[in-house]
């Protein structure tokens, strides 16, 4: 028997199947370009002998001059990383 509501039910199922993800997923994804840009800049910075020399003397200043925010976590990670260099 033909169900007259079937096409509408199919439309609803399709909308549910392709529902947008939670807002916080999209907000996190929106930060990706900036995060990836920061990581790229960070890699370039770490490769610079001038930066490494400056960082050993004045870490916060060196990070700021490289255009990065000298957060405690970043400074700690850089210290760990540069010890290995």
């Amino acid at each position: 028997m033909h169900d007259p509501l079937r096409p509408e039910l199919d439309l609803v199922a399709a909308l549910r199947l392709t529902s947008p993800p939670p807002v916080d997923w999209i907000e996190a994804a929106a930060l990706l370009p900036s995060t990836l840009g920061d990581l790229e800049r960070l890699e370039r910075t770490i490769d610079s002998p001038e930066f490494r020399a400056r960082f050993r003397v004045e870490p916060e200043q060196a990070v700021q001059e490289a255009g990065l925010k000298p957060s405690a976590s970043l400074l700690g990670a850089l210290r760990d990383r540069l010890e290995d260099v």
Binding site: H2, P4, P7, E8, L11, V12, A13, A14, L15, R16, L17, T18, S19, P20, P21, P22, W25, I26, A28, A29, A30, L32, P33, L36
Partner: protein, 157 residues
């Protein structure tokens, strides 16, 4: 990129059946790959199928990392997921039709069918009389059907 979020989410959750926490990580991984390689895309029209391909690869990686059995045989993988992936692809054409509806119709369908909001919540949020919500949903759904199928293809009963 937000416009492609329903496709990515639909594939990860609907076709590959990833758990929410896996899907969230996979969603970010897909978009990371997209951002890193966006410059390699020449044709804007190819963007959706390119993102779908990346999503598929990421989902299969997640399944393998999670210890889920994913055949190394490409043909078997295609066979297992082709039907649910096709369903998502077809569903996206309906979502495209939804995006072409007037804002008020799109919003009421989204609130009722996707976000599962009650008539009362919808009425309060959209500043509408509560008694009109059911008929507005019905009209919006009919409009979506017309938009999707075209006015000449509607058959009733």
């Amino acid at each position: 990129m937000e416009q492609h979020a329903p496709l990515i989410n639909g594939m990860l959750r609907g076709a590959f059946r990833l758990a929410a926490y896996d899907a969230e990580d996979a969603f970010q991984e897909v978009l990371t790959r997209v951002y890193l390689r966006l410059g390699t895309i020449r044709e804007a029209s190819a963007l959706r199928s390119w993102i779908a391909q990346i999503t598929r690869n990421v989902a299969l990686d997640v399944l393998r990392r999670g210890g889920r059995e994913v055949s190394a045989d490409q043909a078997l993988v295609e066979q297992r997921y082709s039907e649910p992936l096709l369903a998502v692809e077809q569903a996206m054409t309906i979502r495209d039709a939804l995006d072409r509806l007037p804002d008020h119709q799109r919003e009421i369908l989204d609130r009722f069918f996707v976000r599962d909001e009650s008539y009362r919540t919808i009425a309060a949020t959209m500043d509408l009389p509560p008694g009109t919500i059911a008929s507005r949903i019905s009209r919006a759904l009919a409009a979506l059907r017309t938009e999707f199928e075209g006015p000449g293809k509607i058959t009733r009963g």
